[in-house]
Amino acid sequence: MFYREAGDFKTSYQSDSQTFPIKFDRYRYYVVLVVAFGIIPFIINDYWANSLLLPFLIYAIAAIGLNILVGYCGQVSLGTGGFMAVGAYAVYKLMTAFPEVSMFIHVILAGGITAAVGVLFGLPSLRIKGFYLAVATLAAQFFLVWLFNRVPWFYNYSASGQINAPEREVFGVIITGANAPAWATYLFCLVFLTLCALIARNLTRGTMGRTWMAIRDMDIAAEIIGVNPLKAKMTAFAVSSFFIGISGALFFALYLGAVEVGEAFGIQKSFLVLFMVIIGGLGSIFGSFAGAAFLVLLPVVLKVVGADMLGWPTDIVAHLQLVIVGALIIVFLIMEPHGLAQLWRVAKEKLRLWPFPH
């Protein structure tokens, strides 16, 4: 009824290949942008920022990054936590070494450093695929965590072995450390998420995305019709790690503030982001958002409903969360491998024809 592309004609190839070809979608996207940038910063408080919005924004960046690698290029990776740690430690070293440089530049540089590390650990993908590649990236995960634990240079020889984000400003507003206002950290992360999502979308609808998907769908045929597999896989690793590095940097500097690497960026983190991608939808930018939102929201909702409203013991609620996530992964893998994004697409397809489906 409301959701129609009828009468929405395209007269140029530009407008046909745009991100939201349907007018309704486009306006909804603008509304979301206006709410996110223009309204939420004014009503945000610390609880909302720390329990929901910041983790959502940061995990969404990581999920987009991993989705590029796993969902678009078909290279399974379990090294997400390790790559996030690279971003975090890179931004920490940069923040402490160059305090006067803007945080924007530091975070982007941290992404760049992670991209280089990602390419390095992506090299095995030229030889191996599937489970074997997953195991190779798992090695990256453990190696990186070990490295940041064992080499004191990375944590500036601090006694605790932790890294702590010093206070830094952007345009005169404090955005890291304990005194940062919620709206500033929120906006800073939101800017990065918006840019990352736009870049990811542009890459995946163009030549780069097509070479990635060609490698994913049939790598031998792709090579025979002219895709350079080395270039395709390495760019996928680079772009993916770039985003994951940014999310790691934000996770440490703006969200946690203090990080012990094994705890914050362990193997659980790799699986968490992978679950976001699977539940949200492989090969979909929107799916990355949906997956991140779902897994960030789930523990909060369970806590509010289970512990606060029904009065269950908190440890039961925590275990229940694990059970639900595990069950959902199985359900999604069997019933709908393309995740929430596919459910959303099917719903839209139904809405288009509603109320006259025949």
Binding site: S12, Y13, Q14, D16, S17, I199, N202, L203, R205, G206, T207, M208, R210, T211, M213, A214, R216, D217, M218, I220, A221, A222, E223, I224, I225, G226, V227, N228, P229, T235, V239, G283
Partner: protein, 272 residues
């Protein structure tokens, strides 16, 4: 009738040019199995060249050698008068050799349009930065190549399915999309591996018409493998016949038809 450099005139009056690709004494082995034994033949500009033979004769291996997927142990591949050095398949594709596959090898997760656009990678050179902001060269290339792709989509009459995911298409259309993807590369040499396998008569007629049209309109040189003898004899200008990895015949369809060895290979004769 055949002249080494000048080419020849076909029965239906088309002019065939000089040699585009020449295979010289190709031998391909897989361990102890000899798939191709000392085969030489050439493909001339503008011609439709068929490779036929019974199952397991080495036809597909031959096509894989041409497209660079297999590297022969012995022999040379000459392309446009130059010996081709050992190169990766994607580099061969960059030189202007496109192909379709016996078992359709489309990218199932992508739309028809994206599949065909992938065929135009040779014409895309925008950098990562330009692509990530969708401005400048990337946007320009996207539009230019989309125009070229739309022409091919029109030509093969698949406009109605351009946004459909390939996985939803029936077999015959998939074959056509695969041809579209190969054509999108604007190849100098087009390799078709059993373009009519598993098709009904009507689909075969359509596909034959497309192959002739491609050859006629774009002047594309075509090498094809096909089992349907009627189709092969009607379409092709010259035919190579293989059996057990050896070349047993080479010439016009008429010559091949009357070749005793070919008749033996197809109708069966006691091998001693």
């Amino acid at each position: 009738m055949l002249d080494a450099s000048e080419g020849y005139i076909t029965e239906d009056g088309r002019k065939i040019g000089g040699v585009v690709m020449e295979m010289k004494n190709i031998t391909l082995r897989f361990g102890g199995v000899v798939a191709i034994k000392d085969i030489s033949f050439d493909i001339r500009e503008g011609e439709i060249r068929a490779i036929i033979g019974p199952n397991g004769a080495g036809k597909s291996s031959m096509l894989n050698v041409i497209s660079g997927f297999y590297v022969p142990q012995e022999g040379e591949v000459w392309f446009h008068g130059k010996k081709r050095p050992a190169m990766r398949p994607y580099e061969v594709a960059r030189q202007g050799i496109a192909r379709t596959f016996q078992n359709i090898a489309l990218f199932e997760g992508m739309s028809v349009l994206d599949n065909v656009m992938t065929g135009r990678l040779n014409f895309m050179s925008a950098g990562l930065l330009s692509q990530s902001i969708w401005r400048g060269k990337a946007e320009r290339e996207e539009v230019e190549n989309r125009e070229a792709v739309e022409k091919i989509i029109d030509f093969l009459e698949i406009q109605h399915i351009r946004k459909t995911p390939v996985s939803r298409l029936p077999y015959g259309l998939k074959k056509r999309v695969e041809l579209a993807r190969a054509l999108a590369a604007e190849p100098k040499l087009l390799l078709l591996d059993e373009p009519m396998a598993g098709m009904n008569v009507e689909e075969k007629e359509d596909m034959s018409r497309f192959i002739l049209d491609v050859n006629d309109e774009f002047g594309t040189t075509i090498a094809l493998i096909e089992h349907d003898m009627g189709v092969v004899m009607d379409l092709s200008d010259r035919v190579v016949v293989m059996d057990y990895g050896k070349k047993i015949g080479d010439g016009t369809p008429e010559e091949v038809r009357n070749n005793q060895e070919v008749i033996d290979a197809y109708l069966g004769v006691a091998h001693d």
